[in-house]
């Protein structure tokens, strides 16, 4: 890395450096973000939840979305519905989607989260 020659260079450098701490900043601001929780545990893992989680990660990366975070949690016990995904908007309750495949994952992200449309498949139970 060479010498930073101006304030403008520093601001540019900051943009690229931000990637280094992005995940930590998300943690710091977690209440203000939309949280996508993928339920894992051994059963979730076997049902393919890891692929779903990775899919969310790469989609978010593509979109460059800053206000959505992907979290992983232990299996909720609703094994029959796995891969199970929860979505929690700031200040509201988590809603759950069961048997999520890649297509459903896209729908959840694009239509439900980003475009704010109501979509099918919300499970009529809360996770507690």
């Amino acid at each position: 890395m060479g010498v930073v020659k101006s304030k403008e260079d520093l601001i540019k450098l900051r943009e690229s450096c931000r990637q280094l701490v992005k995940v930590r900043v998300q943690g710091e601001q977690i209440e203000d973000l939309t949280q996508i929780t993928v339920f894992m545990g051994n059963s979730g893992f076997r049902s393919g939840a890891k692929e779903i989680m990775n899919h969310f990660f790469s989609k978010l990366q593509e979109l460059g979305a800053q206000d959505i975070v992907v979290l992983q949690a232990d299996s909720s016990g609703l094994v029959a519905f796995e891969p199970l995904v929860g979505v929690k908007r700031p200040g509201s309750e988590q809603v759950l989607f069961g048997k999520v495949n890649l297509e459903k994952a896209d729908e959840i992200l694009q239509d439900f989260i980003i475009n704010g449309k109501s979509i099918d498949g919300i499970l009529a139970l809360t996770n507690s």
Binding site: M1, V3, V4, K5, S6, K7, D9, L10, I11, L13, R14, S16, C17, R18, Q19, L20, V21, V23, R24, Q26, G27, E28, I30, E31, V38, F39, M40, G41, N42, G44, F45, F57, Q61, V69, V70, L71, Q72, A73, D74, S75
Partner: protein
């Protein structure tokens, strides 16, 4: 650049490192690589999280999981359970002190809820060894802003308007200090950072330097710009090897990136920083003694005026500030004076870092807005008194401060309130005492420290602290009288008024404040010859209770003074005139037949 999905932060502060945190880092990396997840999850060593008592700390992000007392052998489970399957390692989670419930994320820990981290904003967040992480947190932007688009006067005005007061103890307005320094013209001027931190039990400056060294360097450069100084020196005690290493690396990185050195960011401003190592004498934290020591002379205070702003290092105009004072500067410049003033009280703006120690559950480092009450700090953040004991007093301001009691708990903490209560802010040490602490013994402890650390230059302090200590020893040994108490008070006032520097002037504070708040306890020592807290050994009587004694002869056998007599299966007796109060008999008796009081 790597695109990690999760971050693992391992505390790299002195406390956690001494508990094998480095091995945790290695083991986590190894476990990740064995699971093929090295590209998904990063492991970073940060500065102190403040929760040192429960270290080593490992924090996982973005879910804010806070693992405490982690051992290197836990690394595997953290990775195979939490990282791979989202199953938190329950036994390592922090347990709430009152409910004993495991807390899943740090945002819900009482310890952090009431904290507001400004000076500590990057501690436990960034890798202090990576300047780019500091830059990601807007690092060096305040400096860039000052030198490219603000006049010196504007910079000083912001610091003045912010209401920032020196965090090294005296609470002098920082902006005013800078303004005074800027008025003196000379071919050479200095900025000095006071990182001596001699207050026993205090480690806020060390943590800032270890966790966020660039913040201090950036602030020193800003101060250099505002006061027309081209050279900065950090006076740091040699006992802080990790802070020294991190600072040296930071200086090097800042030079490579062009934030220190010649013509910074293409402007005409040049500034360099170097380190001077102190030998760890308390008096060398006093600014004039510090400057003499830096020049290679004896660390002895000199009379003020002249003040360092006019006549400082090598006789040149010098602005000297404390580490924490500096750490506030870059944020103040970026977020503005008004923002800073929105925290704290009218006369003490902003936040303050405190080191909680003593008989408190959450020993560690915290930062709260000025005006937070002692009760909130001790009971909400600090988790209350250890082992369910009763709160007795809290010593603020270290050996220069005084102790505050139950009736002061709802006092909002700021510079002026603490002074009004007979104590002071000092550098932010807070030592909590419970019902088992003996206050004359506490005063004696502090006087032992100041008496030993007195540089000996002036008589009131050299002889006076020695006399004070003698009196306190007399009292704690049961040889004092009511006259000793009067003498203690009189001598304290004389020393306060006549000592040359702050060390001597404040040394009697622990004596005066305990005399005021715990007069009865002193009287018990000199009149009844009793130590109500059961601490002063010479004042304790050991008694064997006939109803409980089984005549097992154990006490007879351990007594080193031959003070116990008795036959097998008969009640034993202590001869008080022979007893040297060692306590061995009480520790040995299996039947709780011996008591002390």
């Amino acid at each position: 650049m790597q695109n990690y999905k999760m971050h693992m932060l391992v505390c790299g502060g002195t406390g956690c490192k001494s508990a094998n945190a480095d091995q945790i880092v290695l083991n986590l990396k190894k476990a990740l690589s064995e699971c093929g997840m090295s590209d998904d999850v990063s492991v970073t060593q940060t500065g102190c999280f403040g929760f040192c008592e429960k270290g080593p700390i490992v924090k996982i992000l973005p879910d804010n999981t806070f693992y405490t007392q982690v051992k290197p052998e836990d690394a595997n489970e953290i990775v195979t359970s939490h990282i791979l399957y989202g199953r938190k390692v329950h036994r390592l989670l922090y347990k709430d002190q009152t409910t004993q419930e495991a807390i899943e994320d740090s945002k819900h820990m009482d310890f952090y809820k009431k904290q507001h981290r400004v000076a500590l904003r990057n501690c436990g967040f960034i890798d202090p060894g990576n300047i780019e992480e500091y830059i990601a947190r807007d690092g060096y932007l305040a400096l860039a802003d000052c030198i490219t688009s603000k006049s010196r006067e504007e910079v000083i005005q912001i610091v003045k308007d912010s209401g920032l007061r020196g965090r090294g103890g005296a609470g002098f307005p920082t902006g005013l200090k800078w303004e005074i320094s800027s008025r003196y013209d000379d071919d050479q001027k200095y900025v000095v950072c006071n990182a001596d931190e001699g207050d026993p039990g205090a480690f806020m400056d060390r943590s800032i330097l270890e966790g966020d060294p660039h913040a201090v360097l950036e602030a020193m450069a800003i101060c250099g710009y505002a006061t027309k100084a081209s050279e900065g020196r950090i006076y740091i005690r040699a006992e802080y090897p990790l802070a020294i290493k991190r600072l040296e690396n930071a200086v090097k990185a800042a030079e490579e990136y062009g934030f220190l050195g010649e013509k910074i960011l293409g402007t005409d401003f040049s500034f360099k920083v170097s380190l001077t190592f102190g030998a760890g004498a308390f008096v060398c934290g006093e600014e004039t003694a510090l400057l003499r020591s830096m020049e290679g002379g004896r660390g002895e205070p000199t009379t003020k005026p002249p003040f360092p702003s006019e006549h400082g290092l090598f006789g040149k105009p010098t602005t000297i500030n404390n580490v924490e004072t500096f750490a506030n500067i870059p944020v103040i410049i970026r977020q503005g004076a008004k923002w800073y003033r929105s925290m704290g009280t009218e006369k003490s703006a902003g936040t303050k870092v405190f080191a909680l120690a003593g008989k408190i559950n959450n020993v560690g480092l915290i930062e709260v807005p000025m005006g937070t009450t002692l009760r909130e700090v001790i009971f909400d953040i600090g988790g209350g008194i250890k082992n369910g004991k009763k709160f007795k007093a809290v010593q603020t301001g270290g050996p220069s401060g005084g102790c505050l009691t139950e009736k002061d708990l709802d006092t909002p903490i700021d510079f002026d309130n603490l002074i009004a209560k007979g104590s002071m802010m000092g550098s932010g040490g807070m030592i909590v005492m419970d019902e088992d602490s003996c206050m004359p013994a506490v005063a004696k402890f502090y006087l032992q420290f100041t008496q030993e650390e007195s540089c000996g230059k002036c008589t009131p302090c050299r002889i006076g602290t020695t006399r004070l200590l003698e009196l306190l020893e007399l009292i704690c040994n049961g040889e004092g009288t009511l006259d000793s108490l009067e003498e203690l008070r009189r001598l304290s006032m004389v020393i306060k008024d006549t000592a040359l520097c702050g060390l001597g002037q404040t040394a009697p504070n622990p004596v005066l404040s305990t005399l005021n708040a715990f007069w009865d306890e002193y009287v018990a020592h000199v009149v009844e010859k009793k130590c109500p807290a059961g601490v002063c050994t010479k004042l304790l009587d050991y008694t064997i209770h006939a109803d409980k004694c089984k005549g097992c002869t154990m006490c007879f056998r351990v007594c080193p003074a031959g003070a116990i007599t008795g036959k097998v299966k008969e009640v034993h007796i202590i001869d008080v005139s022979k007893c040297i109060k060692c306590g061995a008999c009480m520790d040995t008796c299996k039947f709780n037949a011996i008591t002390r009081g």
